[in-house]
Amino acid sequence: MSIRHSVAIVASPRPRVGKTLLARLLTDFHLQEGRSVAAFDLNAGEGTLAQFLPEHVTRSAIDDLKGQMALFDRLMAEDGATKIVDLGRASFEHFFTLASQFGFAAEARRRDIVPVLLYLMTPDRTSVEAYRSLCGRLPEAMLAPVHNEVFGVAQYGNKYAPIGSGTVIVRLPLLASNVRRYVERPPFSFADSEAAALDVDDYIELQHWLRRIYREFRELDLRILLTAQQQAKSSKGDRAG
């Protein structure tokens, strides 16, 4: 059993909150850890995940049955790959409606896949309510609320309560704006950041920033591992009983 087998859904009902940046970082992180990664881009237009990581990303749409099968059947495939979904705002509601109708999270768990919801928190009501609704609709999913420090230091954890005692907030640290400029222009790759010809200070700033976010991802990995083990234990218990 591959214990780190997970499906990460990067989501928010708000635009421009850092979903694609987080999905890019996560994809790069898994690649650098030597894992097989399949990422799915549910965004239309420019500056999307598919433009940054064309080799690893499939452009997806869930408007019709064909698109839904291409995405969800792939997410559920037991092919050993880590899956990452960059869920565009326009597809947010439809995706989770389908996921809850299909019993997505419960089926994933039956297949020893840990479904992880990386939810970018913002303090507005829409976002808070959407998060609470998701907690109810996908009770089997592992919750990983994300705080993007570009929005300041306050984490709004109080607004998102009850987050649950086992839930830890993933922090996306702030990157200096002069470096962000490079990072946000395709085809910039975190894995090959030397190619961007940054000056020394910017390069150091970027590496420092990457180290911080990768540390967050490693902690997330450990939680996924723990969840997977608990899952395996409880399913063994079920079989015995």
Binding site: L65, Q68, M69, F72, D73, M76, L98, Q101, F102
Partner: protein, 252 residues
């Protein structure tokens, strides 16, 4: 012994989804552990038999020997519920035959539970059947099933027409079967398994299969909605009114 129940599923027109409804019913009772048997009158080859071979027998309702096979065993069979998928065009004649052998009378006097699932098509002709069949079964346990196989509105836009047909049978309950998309229907057809097996990703032998997760998801959601309708009309109470009491006795 509990009172046996017979559920007739019929329509005079073909292609309105009788067998679909029969399949959802067999899954519904199966999941609730209510022993059920089914008769498929699409003699000689039956669609229902293909999906539920273990509990289904193909019969010819026009033949006396097959009538005996169905109705003489209603009280003695292990299965408490008998589901009969009446072939297109045979609904009126089947009801006539049942009336002749006194079976309808058994229902009226309460010795058996007789229920009728009348599947409606989107045409006026299909509504006119209601009048035809109503005179046999009276107002007892009559279910008008609107099967939304397409975007039909069942004349809800015309209250006069609607009322004249749908209110004709006093106490008739309406059941709505939502639409399941074509591709999913086809895949379940190809798989030739009960809906619950398809959802559980199992083939006809009960071995793990490899159906699309999305299509299984659609069936799961759709079947859930169909069953909500069956729950709403209290179908379980109708076919086994005593089972709940039995459970209470055991618990007490």
């Amino acid at each position: 012994m509990a009172k046996p129940a017979v559920i007739l599923i019929g329509a005079d027109k073909g292609g309105v989804g009788k067998t679909t409804v029969a399949r959802t019913l067999l899954d519904y009772f199966g999941t609730r552990q209510i022993p059920t048997r089914a008769f498929d009158t699409e003699s000689p080859r039956g669609t229902l038999k293909r999906f539920h071979p273990d509990v289904t027998e193909v019969v010819d309702v026009a033949s006396v020997s097959d009538q005996m096979k169905i109705f003489d065993t209603v009280g003695s069979a292990e299965a408490k519920v008998t589901v009969i998928d009446v072939r297109a065009g045979l609904l009126s004649s089947t009801l006539q035959a049942l009336n002749n052998i006194g079976f309808i009378e058994l229902g009226k006097t309460g010795q058996i539970t007789l229920a009728m699932f009348h599947i409606l098509g989107p045409s006026i002709a299909s509504l006119e059947e209601i009048a035809e069949t109503a005179r046999f079964v009276g107002d007892a346990n009559y279910f008008l099933v609107k099967n939304y196989i397409n975007e039909t509105l069942f004349f809800e836009w015309d209250p006069a027409t609607y009322k004249s047909y749908f209110k004709r049978i006093k106490g008739a309950e309406e059941i709505s079967i939502p639409k399941l998309n074509e591709m999913t229907c086809e895949q379940v057809e190809v798989a030739s398994v009960p809906y619950v097996s398809f959802i559980a990703n199992k083939n006809a032998k009960g071995e793990p299969s490899n159906y699309s997760f999305v299509l299984r998801g659609y069936v799961r959601h759709w079947l859930g909605r169909v069953w909500e309708e069956f729950d709403r009309v209290k179908l379980v109470d109708l076919v086994s009114p005593k089972s709940e009491k039995n459970i209470r006795q055991v618990a007490g």
